[in-house]
């Protein structure tokens, strides 16, 4: 996760006043990846996604020092293209077939292992990579990189007869043992900030379609995190929408099947799942058989209650009747015993004692004897009652037994009134049971135990039959319903789970959609912000290249996402808007591609400080060549721009426009012997001009005095800069610092001091050292060039140019 991206998103959330929306958390979670987003949705937290290992380039600020090619394409024996490391423009000029493009291709193959110009072509094209005249094949390049004390050498070599793909590239930094090319960390940058562009590519950049162009441009913006976050939000939304749709679709069929079943649970599920809002708790209750709704026990419970009814057990009825009869006999036999009499007497005396306790001493209310009831009597009678009670206990037990036996019938038939009262609802006929029960309960009105026992024995059989019949009917009904329900219950249970997820997801969908739509806008905004400077640069380059073209280029934008991503180019032809690319000539298309490519390849984030352009002039209108030269000059202000061209219009324009450039000519003899010749460089350029002026016979003397020393000074300054750049870049100093140092050393002497002593302040020592080491005439020339208004006669002008050239050569030898 690029922390910059997160803070961009956060500040946009705040700017939109959206930070407090419920969904803003989702936006931030999505930046952490899918797992973090899902965790946020389920209210938990997950460890933020492991930071994707972004392979940052190990080596940055790379300038090209040379390119070595041997036995590759048009080049036979090994040839080295030496370049001035550091910002500046180099034109490599040669006729078609001179082998110049082989350097450009060689460098691309060396670094990327392939060449884009072969990709779309037939195999025979690729197979022709080897030079026919030279069996050994190898590629190499030397780079000066910031922070490295020595050069970085990359090479790739093939044994005789080896396949193209077999050669692995190695990189050796600072004279250290060679390692894999990947160690430089350039792999990603070679794609995103691709520093090569060929004629073929210029054409195909726009031919391949708007999405390809989008990819080529958007990859430099470093917005992959935004794309991934948006994908996470979209996937979260789609998963939930899919779940909801599936649950809704599944409900249709399920409800239809449930309707066919005569089951109260099925009806409840149908009722709960039919509305717009599903009552999933009710579904779950129905599934579990719980009484979840008002209206008493569920039908299933009624049926189960009846199915579990127990008929009166014949043996127990018999036992109960026997006990009744036995108890009745015991009461009968106990009636005549003393125990019975004692019991009755005790009751009588207890009544008298209560009478005495209530009314005090008195005559006997029964026999009338005077003063019979007194304290002494009471005391005596209490003792008598205790004795009588003990004697009566036996009789009490007999009576209690009789009582117990009488009530035993009530527990013989455990009925379930709550189930039975609703039996009709579940389709059961209670008629026979009611009749049998009515007879049975007549038992309550029979006082005589013997008669009761007879009644029970008589009435129990029909009751048993009725209950058994009812119970079996209920059981059968229950079984039938369960058979129909069970498979449906499984379905309902499965659906319930899916529906719960779907309903939960549906609640999250609203937030997810808000988050997604906000995020889309924010991502497009961030993308536009990042792309704006590139688009501006591209527009500026186009403005230079288009010259008088009728095609005006307005805003360049990256729009859309996913499969609809494209680069929208606001093209206006003769004031008519919305024109398609189709109206542009091939040359214009190439110019447009170049306009887009140069800003991409020269972004500060690129580890490469060089760009290699192969044949940009082809099919370009002559008037555009001047613009191209200016564009290349602009790019070479802080980049090393190497341009291969077969067309002499570009070098011509560079010469005429006074653009500081080095021109290397490539020629090819028989048998692929390629030769390089430095045709011109900025130093030679100034001195050549100075020579041309000084050598003009009829030159006005004041013009000579004014022009020649100035040109010589420019030549010498360029020489000093070249010397300083090569030295400082060579020891790994960042180019920006080198350029700053050079910019601060304004004037010939400070620059010479930098070149001689690596210290711009030591200007006083410059002339003595030049005189000492290079001779007095050279020191004299330096002095003349340095003076503000030198007096130079036409005759002396020629001499000044000659000495200046010698001085330039001597200075170059210092580096």
């Amino acid at each position: 996760m690029d922390p910059g991206i997160r803070s961009l998103v956060e500040s946009r959330l705040e700017a939109d006043d959206s930070a407090n929306h419920a969904w803003s958390g989702l936006v931030l979670a999505a930046l952490g990846g899918r797992e973090v987003l899902e965790a946020e949705l389920s209210g938990g937290s997950a460890a933020p996604r492991a930071v994707a290992a972004r392979t940052a380039p190990v080596l940055v600020g790379a300038f090209l020092k040379d390119v070595l090619v041997e036995g590759f394409r048009g080049i036979g024996p090994q040839q080295t293209l030496s370049l001035r490391p550091g910002p500046g423009l180099t034109l490599v000029v040669g006729r078609n077939g001179s082998g110049k493009s082989s350097f450009a291709e060689g460098l691309e193959v060396l670094l990327t292992g392939d060449s884009l110009r072969w990709k779309e072509r037939a195999a025979v094209w690729r197979e022709g990579w080897r030079n026919l005249h030279h069996p050994a094949a190898s590629l190499g390049a030397t780079f000066l990189v910031e922070g490295a004390r020595g050069p970085c050498v990359v090479s790739r070599r093939w044994d005789e007869g080896a396949e193209f793909e077999t050669a692995a590239a190695t990189a050796a930094l600072d004279g250290a043992p060679a390692s894999d090319l990947g160690a430089l960390g350039w792999t990603a940058a070679l794609r995103t900030h691709r520093p090569f562009l060929s004629y073929n590519e210029l054409g195909s950049l726009l031919d391949e379609g708007p999405s390809k162009l989008y990819d080529a441009l958007s990859s430099i913006l470093g917005l992959e995190d935004l794309v991934e976050a948006l994908a996470a939000l979209q996937e979260a939304r789609r998963t939930r929408e899919k779940a909801l749709k599936e649950a809704t679709d599944a409900r249709e069929g399920l409800v239809a099947r449930l309707r066919e079943v005569d089951d109260e649970r099925a009806r409840r599920v149908v009722a709960a799942a039919s509305g717009k809002e599903w009552d999933l708790d009710a579904v779950e209750a129905a599934l579990g058989g719980f009484a979840g709704t008002a209206g008493g026990p569920a039908e299933g419970d009624v049926l189960r209650g009846i199915a579990s009814l127990e008929p009166p057990d014949a043996a127990r009825v018999g036992e109960a009747a026997a006990e009744m009869r036995a108890a009745a006999a015991a009461v009968e036999s106990a009636r005549a015993t003393s125990a019975a009499r004692s019991r009755d007497a005790a009751a009588l005396v207890e009544s008298a004692l209560e009478y005495h306790a209530a009314h005090g001493d008195s005559d006997c209310p029964v026999c009338g004897r005077k003063g019979a009831l007194d304290a002494a009597w009471s005391k005596k009678q209490r003792e008598a009652v205790a004795k009588l009670r003990a004697a009566a206990q036996e009789a009490d037990a007999v009576h209690q037994r009789a009582d117990a036996a009488r009530h035993a019938w009530e527990s013989l038939v455990p009925l379930k009134p709550e189930a039975l009262t609703r039996a009709a609802e579940v389709g059961l006929d209670l008629g026979p049971l009611v009749g049998a029960l009515a007879t049975w309960v007549e038992a309550g009105g029979i006082a005589d135990l013997g008669a009761l026992a007879d009644h029970l024995e008589r009435a129990s059989a029909p009751l048993r039959d009725a209950i058994e019949k009812l119970r079996d009917t209920a059981r059968a009904e229950l079984g039938r319903r369960e058979d129909a329900w069970r498979p449906l219950a499984v379905e309902v249970a499965a659906w319930l789970k899916a529906a719960r997820d779907a309903v939960r997801g549906a609640a999250e969908l609203k937030h997810l959609k808000s988050a997604e739509s906000w995020f889309k806008k924010a991502a497009a905004g961030i993308r536009d912000d990042r792309f704006a400077p590139i688009a501006e640069k591209a527009a500026a380059i186009w403005e230079r290249l288009r010259q008088q073209s009728h095609v005006e280029l307005g805003r360049i934008q990256l729009t859309g996402e996913g499969t609809r991503r494209r680069v929208s180019l606001d093209v206006t032809v003769d004031g008519v808007e919305g024109a398609a690319l189709g109206v542009m000539s091939q040359g214009e298309l190439h110019s447009l591609a170049l306009s887009l490519f140069v800003p991409r390849a020269t972004l500060a984030e690129s580890p490469f400080r060089f760009i290699v352009i192969d044949d940009p002039v082809q099919s370009m209108d002559p008037s555009r060549v001047e613009g191209l030269a200016r564009v290349l000059e602009g790019a070479s202000a802080d980049r090393q721009v190497v341009v291969f061209t077969h067309d002499d219009r570009l070098p011509e324009a560079v010469r005429r426009l006074d653009i500081a450039a080095e021109i290397v000519e490539v020629t090819r003899r028989d048998a692929s012997v390629v030769e390089l010749r430095r045709a011109l460089d900025p130093v030679g350029r100034y001195l050549e001009d100075a020579l041309a002026v000084a050598g003009t016979a009829d030159l006005p003397s004041s013009a000579a005095a004014r022009v020649v020393p100035g040109l010589c000074r420019l030549g010498l300054e360029a020489t000093c800069m070249e010397v300083v750049r090569r030295r400082r870049l060579g020891r790994g100093e960042p180019y920006a610092e080198v350029e700053r140092t050079l910019g601060e050393a304004s004037g010939l002497l400070p620059l010479a001091a930098l070149a001689l002593f690596d210290d711009a302040a030591r200007t006083r020592e410059v002339l003595p050292r030049v005189e000492r080491e290079a001779g007095a005439p050279l020191a004299q020339a330096l002095k003349q060039c340095e003076e503000a208004t030198p007096e130079v006669k036409p005759a002396a002008a020629l001499e000044l140019v000659r000495q200046s050239s010698k001085l330039a050569a001597w200075l170059r030898g210092l580096a």
Binding site: Q547, Q548, S549, D621, P622, S623, E626, E652, A653, R656, L657, D658, I659, D689, A692, V693, T696, A697, D698, L699, P700, S702, A703, R706, V707, G710, L711
Partner: protein, 123 residues
Amino acid sequence: MTGPADPRPLLELADGLLRRAEPATAGLWPRASALLALQALEAGVARLWQRHALDFHGCSMRTQLICLRSYLEDAPLAARASHTWSALSRACHHHAYELAPTSTELEDWFAVVGELVRKVEPA
């Protein structure tokens, strides 16, 4: 010694050829107008030398154009003038297989010549 020609009418003539289609000049106008513009450019440079009382008579145009950078006080314009001069003279001479310049190219070059003329002799 007569002074250098006035560059303005020359440039106007060139511009006229470019803008008006006439049967008499059909097919000829690109090179003809380039020739007039080239003369205007050289006349403009000569006017500059006249102002500085410099006698470049007999000096090659290359030398003059190099010196122009020092005297014009506008190095980019001097460079563009130099480039335009070479483009115009290339268009004026017949090169086998080389096509005549297009109207847009000529317009471009005339603009540079006009700028130079105005710089040398502000109206």
